[in-house]
Structures are given as structure tokens and as C-alpha cells.
Symmetry: C2
């Protein structure tokens, strides 16, 4: 098996900027990626909060190419490559592996509901067999509130047994600590890295031996979140966690993706960042003003971020 550096710590589902024709803007994306890396946050591009499922496979592959050309290191990337269509998942995953991405974050196919674990197993197995590359590292993406298709503990167990090494971990966005804890106890000892779906569970996940978190709000608050990940054994860890929770709770008062973009747009003085693709809708003027005044009031800033 080829040696690949293990992904740990904090990653962000990097928000995707759009131009006035709603086309993805690779240069602005590269700039945001660099700022996240400067803050010690890895790049889970094409996540839920990246509006990845509002992009075509061709658009995602072109964006990846643009990031590589811009010098963003693929060794720090974990692109989302799980699509409804098996053929799409294979094509996008192969492209990510060919470019040297550290791993891929893989949604289950999410159109058909109530499908059997056997069918989900076959989906992941087919992707692995068809990509056929020992460098492939798959992080399963469990996000039942959105995908509405869960990845069960039994499915993980079966996949881990069949493809050890390739099945590398999970992002648990269930919001259910009991489930994250079960994954930590059952699979983390096998080298299967459990990432919490947000920094809300970062400290608890690290204390449970997990890999870290992959969080929407790491787009806007990367430094402090990454700091907790690297100092979680220090006495101030609980206080750090509380401070992270306070910032996150502000963003959770709005629809998350447009709120993240509104904050980035405001602090970089670049209104283009407000744009989202349908079916999402940007924050309206009043919501934006309200969000910014709440953030300012909380002493929030995005140091080093430039438009």
C-alpha cells in the first residue's frame, strides 16, 4: 500500500464563489483556500456547504484543476466526490485521486430513499473497484438530515472489512453525539478516523480519540477552531470550546451557506461573495446587517482575509 499522510485536525467544506453568471469562480476560491491553509485548516472542497451538489461533475473537475494550477496543495484536500450516479462518483473520484488528493469525502447516492445497506455497500464497492487505485482513501459522509440516506454502523463495519486502508474514516453530520461516540468506540481503534460534522463536537471527538472535525464555520472562524484541535489537552480547552460554540451559534441563526458567504463578503468588502446558486437564496439586506452587527458586537473578525 502506498504511504499517504493521514488527514487529521480541522477541515472546512470550502464555500464556492460564483460570478454574475452563476459560474464558479476558481480564483476567488483559491484565495479563500490559501487563507484557510494559513490558518491550519484543510480543504474539504465540494462539501454540502460548498454547494457542491449545485455543481456539475465537469464544473467540479475544472475547479480542482484551477486550484492545482493556482498552487493549492492537493495533499491538503479532501474533495466531496459522492454523487447520485455511480458513473459520476467514479469519474470525480478518479480525478481527485489522479491529482493526489489526500482523501475523498463520499456521500451515499441520495435520491432513492429507504434503500438497503446491500445497495449502498455495492455503490461504494463499485466506486472502489472501478477507480482501482491503491492511493484512494474514502471518508464516508453520514449526513442524514440532508441526504436522508444514512450510513449505518453495520455498513461501515462491512466496508472496513472488505476494504481496509481504503475506507479511511467518516464525517458524522448526524448531530447525534451517541452515534459519533459509537463510531469512535467501534471503529477508531482500527485506524478509521472519525471527524465530527462541526466544531460543536470537536473537543469531545478529540477526547474520544477521533481525527477532528469538518465544519462549515471553519470557513469563517478557522484559526480558533484549528487552535483548539492542536491544544485540546491544555487546561483552557473547555473555555476554547465555549468560545467556538458562541461564534457558531450566531451563524446558526441564519441559513448557514448564505450567512457564511455574507460574512466573507463583508469582511473582504467583496459583494460577489454573497451570490449563491439556486435553490439557495442569499441573505437579504436586513438579515445581512443583522448578522454583521451581531458578529461585530461579539468581537468577531477574520484576521488576514483579503478580497
Amino acid at each position: 500500500m502506498t504511504e499517504v499522510s493521514r488527514v487529521r485536525g480541522v477541515l472546512s467544506p470550502v464555500v464556492t464563489p460564483f460570478d454574475r453568471d452563476l459560474r464558479p469562480d476558481g480564483q476567488r476560491l483559491a484565495r479563500h483556500c490559501r487563507w484557510l491553509l494559513d490558518n491550519n485548516v484543510g480543504l474539504a472542497i465540494f462539501g454540502t456547504n460548498s454547494e457542491a451538489n449545485s455543481l456539475s461533475v465537469a464544473e467540479k473537475m475544472a475547479l480542482l484543476d484551477t486550484l492545482v494550477e493556482a498552487g493549492v496543495p492537493t495533499g491538503r484536500m479532501m474533495p466531496g466526490t459522492g454523487c447520485c450516479s455511480l458513473s459520476d462518483s467514479v469519474e470525480l473520484t478518479r480525478h481527485a485521486v489522479d491529482l493526489g488528493c489526500a482523501g475523498v469525502l463520499m456521500l451515499p447516492p441520495f435520491y432513492y430513499k429507504g434503500v438497503a445497506d446491500e445497495g449502498l455497500y455495492r455503490n461504494f464497492a463499485e466506486v472502489i473497484e472501478q477507480v482501482g487505485d491503491e492511493r484512494l482513501r474514502i471518508y464516508l459522509y453520514h449526513i442524514p438530515p440532508v441526504a436522508q440516506v444514512p450510513i449505518s454502523l453495520a455498513l461501515i463495519e462491512r466496508l472496513l472489512k472488505a476494504y481496509p486502508g481504503t475506507i479511511a474514516g467518516v464525517k458524522d453530520s448526524s448531530g447525534d453525539w451517541g452515534n459519533t461516540n459509537a463510531m469512535l468506540e467501534q471503529f477508531q481503534p482500527q485506524g478509521f478516523d472519525v471527524f465530527a460534522g462541526s466544531e460543536t463536537f470537536l473537543l469531545a471527538t478529540l477526547r474520544g480519540g477521533g481525527g477532528g472535525c469538518i465544519s462549515a464555520t471553519a470557513n469563517v472562524n478557522p484559526g480558533p477552531i484549528a487552535h483548539l484541535a492542536s491544544t485540546w489537552e491544555q487546561p483552557d480547552a473547555d473555555a476554547q470550546q465555549a468560545a467556538l460554540d458562541a461564534v457558531r451559534s450566531i451563524f446558526q441563526g441564519y441559513v448557514m451557506i448564505p450567512a457564511l458567504k455574507a460574512a466573507i463578503g463583508h469582511y473582504t468588502n467583496d459583494a460577489q461573495w454573497n451570490r449563491v446558486r439556486p435553490p439557495l437564496v442569499e441573505l437579504d439586506e436586513r438579515q445581512r446587517a443583522d448578522l454583521i452587527s451581531t458578529l461585530d458586537g461579539a468581537g468577531f473578525s477574520m484576521p488576514g482575509l483579503r478580497g
Copy 2:
């Protein structure tokens, strides 16, 4: 506005055959389409029961091309072209319109849940504007049990007002007759054709002035369903409806897509039809034997269908 013949009657979300490498098999698909047309059933290819969301956009465009080359008339087609990604929806819809399809059946973008009607409106409006072709006829696809993103009456009203002529109708797969009836009362008088999501509501829909139905089981029982659609004012209509319901109830005892394929595979003596793409799973031997013996016992047949 260009004159386009209005779609009425019965259509089938045509099941998609796969070869041993799980690639779509255009020749078998064309053969099944011809049999459906011989039975007076139109072609809602790329529907839910076509496993359309398990196919890439490129695979769907290639299948459409294959059908056209095989002489299957696009004037009898209503392909599903609504994808999660706006760019995918535009590309596939444009291809369908360019080939002369009678209409397209359009899912809302279905990854993000709880989205505002404003965002769904923008999605459909963007597709219409970007395709920019007056031949485009959109049938909205309301299937909340699967997509988990509903198309509300308020959204239909707004779309109809903004794009009369282009917004041509709906397939209501809510399974909620109250909703279908509200659509019939509110929008059918404006020339917006309401199609029931299965033949269960065919007679009621036609009596309410609707367009017909688009039904999974029209893949296997097309003749009798189409017969009711053309003779629904005859005295035996209720008896016909009851007979259709009896056949449908047999298939509803199994997972629908593999059950449809198992029946086609059995009656054409062509086991390749059993194949489904993950995340679906084919019926096992016992289920298949059970289905066939129940169908045989009910006197079911698929006259004229050949492998």
C-alpha cells in the same frame, strides 16, 4: 409561440436496462420503448423508475441519441431533465429540446432540504432563461416522498404567471389525492395538464379534467392502462380501474424498480433485465419466483413483448 402537440394520456417512466458492466443498454431500451408506443403509452424516459438519478448527464444524453438513431419518436418523449445542479439541468434540458422532445419532466434540485420557494422559483426560471427556447415545455415533478423537496401550489402559480406556455403541467407523485385535486381545480383550467403519479388515480384525474397519468407500472401493464385513458367515459370505467389496481397492488408488494425489471426479464426470457444500478438491489430468486407465480395466478401477461 411554436405549436407543439399537447401531451395527454398515459406515459411510462421507462425502465433502463444495464449490461454486465452496469452500462445503460440503449438497444434494449429502444425495444422496450417501441413496445410501450405500440400500446399507446408515451415515454417519460429518465424518470424515478428509470433509475435516471443513477445515470450521469452524459449517459442520459447518449441514451437519448441512441433512441433517436433507433427511430423512437421524440414527439412521444418527456424525458426527466431536473438535476441537483443547475448547470446539469440546463445542459440536459437543452439537449432534449434540441432533439424535439414533446416536453421535459423536471424534478426540483433535491439535495438541499427545507429550501425556500424563492430558491426553487429561481432554479426553474434560470433553466428556462438559459435554455431560451420557445419549444420548451416543462412538466413539474412533485414527488415529496422521494425528492423530499415539494413543489407547492404557490410555486406553481408563480411559475405559471411568469412563464405561461412553457410551464405546461405537473406529475403529482405525492400520493395525496387532495393535492392532485387542488392542482386540477386551480391550474387545469389554465391549460396546465395534471398527470397523476400512478394509474391508481387515473380515472379520478381524467374525471377531474386532467391529462392522464405517468406510471411505473405502465412499463408492464401498458395496454390496459392506456385503454382506460381512452375509454374512461364508458360504463365499464370503474371496473377497468379496479382491474388496474389489482395488477398494481401485486407490484407494490416488492421494491418497485427491481420488480418491474424482474417481470420484463421473465416474460421476455432475458435475465439481463434483472440488473439494477446501486444503490438498488435486484429481487432475489425467492422474491422473483413469488412475484411471477402471483402474476401468473392473476392471469397477467405482457402480450407482444419480445426479448
